[in-house]
Subunit: 412 residues, 2 copies
């Protein structure tokens, strides 16, 4: 599907991405107020989470023991024990102590806790044998979070921990952004729906399935606009329909069919401003295109499975992150590993090499996955990360330490 002669000029990844991401609206996504349950974890915050009070909001005991005035203890020693009267009140005076369990509030007037194992109790008298220091074994109010502190920023993704912290701070609902709706459209006379009867020269619609799963992983919703034949007018009509409801459109296939750029042409027929770049200095995924219609982003991905996946990684991820309302595009987890085989780049093109990272003897090792064509989905299932070779680099030598973007776990 890579067809260099089809493109007079390739646009660099950075140039295309920058031009495209700034060519459609930066208006804030719709907000929605959701009750604070575990289901908000993964959503994007549409408000700052700010502590309305100290957390904890009272001094608590860190131990089972007795809350006392530390001043009462300063002369205590094994040879000069101090005896205090145990009270049940919410406030203690000099010479008094109150029994507390871990987590209990410290009574007013108390400023230290003596551990139960360092005391002796007889009736309502407790004996201590050691001097304490101020606030010993006391968790101070505000130790976790101080009133007014920003604990999670608008435009960041909620996770189990900041969701839990919001709950601890007394939030019972959170403002998050509405999930963006991404329309997906497959094109190609040879494509048949998954589960349909197919003859041996037809191809199952696996790209749309993969793109749907990738959109959903990022937290977007997907609406499926099906499969359309290789006809510019039909494709343009589907594109217009899709963008009536969806916030963005991703197409797969038809980027260079029989010498024709069906989908880019259809996008240009469907509205303005149309295609911003088509033919990217990217390997694989050169026939990728990016467009804007009615202030909405359109991604024109190759029909080649791996090229569509890489096109989505490079353009789809940052675009969806923007639609989600995230302040920054989310990156894949990265790690450093040592190359066990040299790999080649292509001067002038940013190259995504699928690699397998393994645990070596003393280090993480990384090897390229056999360089089959861009149509080989199995190269994705046999790898767990990418190495990105920049445009000005001919390749990376064996033994070099490289950064890997991980999309799957390392096997034990």
């Amino acid at each position: 599907m890579v067809k260099l002669q089809g493109f007079q000029k390739l646009t660099s990844v950075d140039e295309a991405l920058k031009a495209w991401l700034t060519a459609w609206s930066t208006r804030e996504p719709q907000q929605v107020l959701l009750p604070l349950t575990a289901d908000v974890s993964g959503r994007v915050l549409a408000e700052d989470i700010i502590a309305q009070a100290d957390l904890p909001c009272f001094d608590r005991s860190a131990m089972d023991g007795y809350a006392v005035r530390y001043n009462d203890s300063i002369c205590a020693s094994p040879s000069n024990v101090v005896k205090l009267t145990v009270v049940e009140t919410d406030e203690i005076d000099a010479g008094q102590a109150k029994q507390v369990w871990t987590g209990n509030p410290i009574p007013n007037g108390a400023d230290a806790v003596v551990m139960i194992e360092n005391t002796e109790r007889e009736g309502n008298t407790v004996t201590i044998r050691n001097a304490l220091t101020p606030y010993l074994n006391v968790i101070r109010h505000g130790e976790d979070v101080k009133k007014g502190q920003l604990v999670a920023k608008k435009g960041t993704r909620l996770n189990p921990y900041n969701t839990g912290l919001a709950a601890a701070l007394g939030y019972s609902a959170l403002k998050v952004y509405q999930k963006p709706l991404i329309a997906l459209l497959a094109t190609g006379n040879e494509i048949v729906a998954i589960g349909a009867q197919a003859d041996r020269h037809q191809i199952f619609d696996s790209n749309k399935l993969m793109l749907t799963a990738m959109c959903q992983e990022l937290g977007a919703e997907v609406v499926d606009f099906g499969i359309v034949k290789d006809n510019t007018d039909d494709i343009a009509e589907k594109i217009r329909q899709a963008l009536k409801t969806a916030d963005a459109l991703i197409t797969t296939g038809g980027t260079s069919v029989g010498g024709l750029d069906l989908v880019p042409d259809a996008v240009n027929k469907a509205g303005k401003p149309g295609v911003i770049a088509h033919g990217i200095a990217l390997r694989p995924a050169m026939p990728t295109g990016v467009a804007v219609l009615n202030d909405k982003p359109v991604m024109i991905l190759s029909g080649n499975p791996v090229a569509s996946i890489i096109g989505f990684e490079v353009f789809g991820r940052p675009a969806i992150c923007k639609l989600l309302g995230l302040n920054e595009p989310e990156r894949r987890p990265i790690l450093k590993a040592t190359l066990t085989r040299k790999i080649s780049g292509v001067l002038g093109r940013k190259t995504y090499v699928r690699v397998l990272v393994k645990f070596g003897m003393n280090e993480l090792t990384v090897e390229p996955v056999s360089a089959k064509g861009p149509g080989s989905i199995s190269t994705m299932t046999q790898s767990n990360g990418y190495i990105i070779i920049p445009e000005n680099c001919e390749g990376l030598r064996e033994g070099k330490t490289v950064l890997v973007q991980m999309f799957n776990n390392i096997e034990a």
Copy 2:
């Protein structure tokens, strides 16, 4: 909540984990056949995915051009051009060529494709000027996957890529394991539901929210058994109820309340064999317990937020991975980074240090997040990974390269 005197003996993490994970059933989870949509991504395979045919199942053109017999081209050169007759049939003879577009099947009899830009066409005659090699520009059948090849193993998690590959191979449904149902129970007189009216000495039920989100992230389903007061009989009754329907139970709180081990006692009251280990050589999360009731796993987690999170990481993750039907427990993404400050361990205890990994000048750097108590949820929201210090290690020096288990992204 850490109360060393409460435990006569601490059990090592490895010992407790091994004893516990083998003390309940290894029977396979229930299977369910799901239609092959993007929603199966993330589920665990209950069958091997095996290619029933080559992928692709026919030889395809990798280029726009003409399918020919390479033998016809071997004498071709710019000074000795070869002319072939263009036909439309599904089979070509010597001296014939068929026009093909990228992805088209190669006609029978053809074994190479000449790129269109290296040809000249006049009427039904095409001229070629260069010798080809066998299968030049042809994607061979089985290049991606060979018939009979295992492409995804039973007991592994589906992702966008292996789901797509299954679709490409003609699968229209996949057998996956039923999601395990995890019952969650919070205990504590001081705990109130999120959103409820609370006085200033009460604590919102944030632990159960975090544990729910962590279970759901792993792909389990959660059933909420609410909050129960500090009463052994009431807790035991709730535990019995929960395990009537759920596959596992996680409790938070009541691991050492007022000198009593309410939840461990309640678990032992609720059935057999009961608690396997309580008091783990783990920091934080020493008061963690693991138990088995009716052949189902029970995790007894601390009421301290961070201790409950670490207890879940250490015991909950591998247990839920087993319940999901995964062959191996899934690990967090790991990376290597350079310590910018020394950190201390505690001899005899496996220590989980919350850390923040950042991009340094030429490397990834990692620093411990301020060592507040185990109650500080904010230490989780300010960190993005853990370092695990083994039991026999007093600490790690500044400048050392360490492995970090990442639970959140590195900020740009």
